[in-house]
Symmetry: C2
Subunit: 320 residues, 2 copies
């Protein structure tokens, strides 16, 4: 039976990963670890047998013990302080909780000489401020990280390469672009907009939405496509290689709001709060997905409209 | 009176930096911090008033207090676990003691809003394995670090840029090439060779020297030139810029041994110990010093022969 360890288990990505595993109709064993408790049910599956252990991933001894005892064949390293805004306020915590916990993990795999594939989840933020001429971004693009979070992710990537080339570990790297999908917490921009718009619709609240800079363009990819990519990379990705996981399409935040308002059949007025404009924010990020398509035959299956509809439905059924 | 804080005080670089400051005939105040005690006399100067505080730089509270109390105008951040070989054996310690202590330092400067210039000392190791066509290496070269130590240094550099561009700190970055000079500990290759050769000469010991790979080519620069560059960068370097500190000349370890043997008038047989060959070692590293020359008019003043002679004299007077 295949054994998976998932770090950062309590986020919405692992829930979707479990659902993907379940859809394969094959028994698998999963241990999830996180400092926060998961808010979803992880014990109701037929094929996925899942346990959760609440630990601080900075506690190296505890992480070491779990890996030693469980001996996973696959580690999906989702744990991350993934907010760019948070990283500007708490650069040390962002760095420790991204780079250092990952390094602890690699070091335990190395010291146990464990045969194990690790997916090192990175971010499109690693590219940094890029020229429009370099869009869409291929994996060969020079990385110019412009936030503490992005620096932590680039460091994680460099460490992965050292462990692959210097110590022979089996790490596959991703640069995952902005995930969207049902279940995402409302600290993330699209989920936050969706929740507010659903509230406006449901309770006839005032139609004003306070936002940051709406002109920024991002490449959004549905979490259900992302987790399928992680699975395929476990099975067929090349060791030491980095893969963009992206849709290949750019869309402005303004357009997302328009599309969601249309789905909800409401009109909305947006108001920019300058406090929410981040220093050094990237204007445009769109990925090139040719490599992952060519190598593991992955393309997104959810359209932007599919994702936005499901996100709206999620909030409709979730909020009181 | 100018105030300098020197981290990693107990290494040989800070001793030479103090001597350079003394040569300026102007009163300055210096606090040195290090986890190890300095083995040189730092209280005998006329113009340099220097105190030493023994602390672990990973202890953020202590470092914070010292910066808060002393309010230095200049911080020379020499603290580092600078052995590549050590970093392969202890990647976590190497990363913590390079990247994380530097991040703690920057964060305290930021939170105090202290007007202070920091020299972030980096390493030629950051360049990694490079094509011969890219030699000599300019600062624009893409960094491809190939050891845990080098990754830690590149991370330090990326963090410096974030603090300059995102928070407005005044950091000047270096990529310092291999330092040599009197007083360097014998864990470093040239100093180790020199000490062994002096022992051979002084005690008529067997003329066999056990070495690692002698064909690797490095760009050696005298520590006394390096510290002068640090001083000039404090005064005239451009904030956020990175500068190679190098001689611009490459020389093989084999040639260094030959030159030292000639100075000592001995003949020596070298024997390669394969245990000492490191994984992923860079074959050739030579820097281009055009930028620092053009911007702050720095060129090395010590020839390789000057340096080797002084290193040999140092060991002649030091070993029992």
């Amino acid at each position: 039976m295949e054994k998976y360890l998932i770090t950062g288990f309590s986020g919405f990505v692992s829930k979707h990963f479990l659902e993907f595993l379940e859809s394969l109709n094959t028994n698998v064993a999963v241990i999830g670890i996180d400092i926060n408790l998961p808010e979803f049910d992880y014990v109701h599956y037929k094929y996925v047998r899942c346990s959760f252990i609440k630990i601080d991933l900075l506690d190296k001894n505890q992480v070491d013990n779990i890996i030693y005892i469980f001996q996973p064949a696959y580690i999906l390293h989702l744990a991350s302080f993934s907010s760019v805004a948070y990283s500007w306020k708490n650069p040390i915590a962002s760095f420790s909780n991204n780079t250092n916990i990952f390094l602890n993990l690699l070091e335990q795999i190395r010291s146990l000489n464990l045969s194990c594939r690790i997916i090192s989840v990175g971010s499109s933020e690693e590219y940094g401020n890029v020229d429009e001429k370099d869009i869409p971004l291929t994996e060969d693009q020079i990385l110019k990280p412009v936030s503490p979070y992005a620096v932590a992710r680039v460091s994680q990537e460099m460490l992965s390469r050292i462990y692959v080339e210097g110590y022979g570990l089996d790490v596959v790297l991703t640069r995952s672009f902005n995930h969207i999908g049902p279940g995402q917490r409302d600290i993330f921009v699209i989920s936050s907009f969706a929740k507010q718009l659903v509230e406006i619709k449901k309770y006839n609240k005032p139609v004003e939405l306070t936002t940051g800079n709406l002109s920024i363009i991002r490449d959004f990819v549905d979490v259900r496509d992302v987790v399928r990519a992680y699975y395929l990379l476990f099975k067929a990705g090349r060791k030491g290689e980095v893969y963009n996981i992206c849709s290949g399409n750019g869309v402005s935040l303004e357009m997302i709001i328009k599309k969601m308002a249309a789905l909800l059949e409401i009109e909305v007025i947006t108001k920019v709060d300058t406090e929410r404009i981040r220093p050094n924010d990237n204007k445009i990020i769109i990925g090139d997905s040719s490599k992952i398509k060519a190598e593991i035959d992955w393309i997104p299956t959810y359209t932007l409209e599919d994702s936005l509809r499901d996100i709206i439905n999620y909030w409709y059924t979730t909020i009181a």
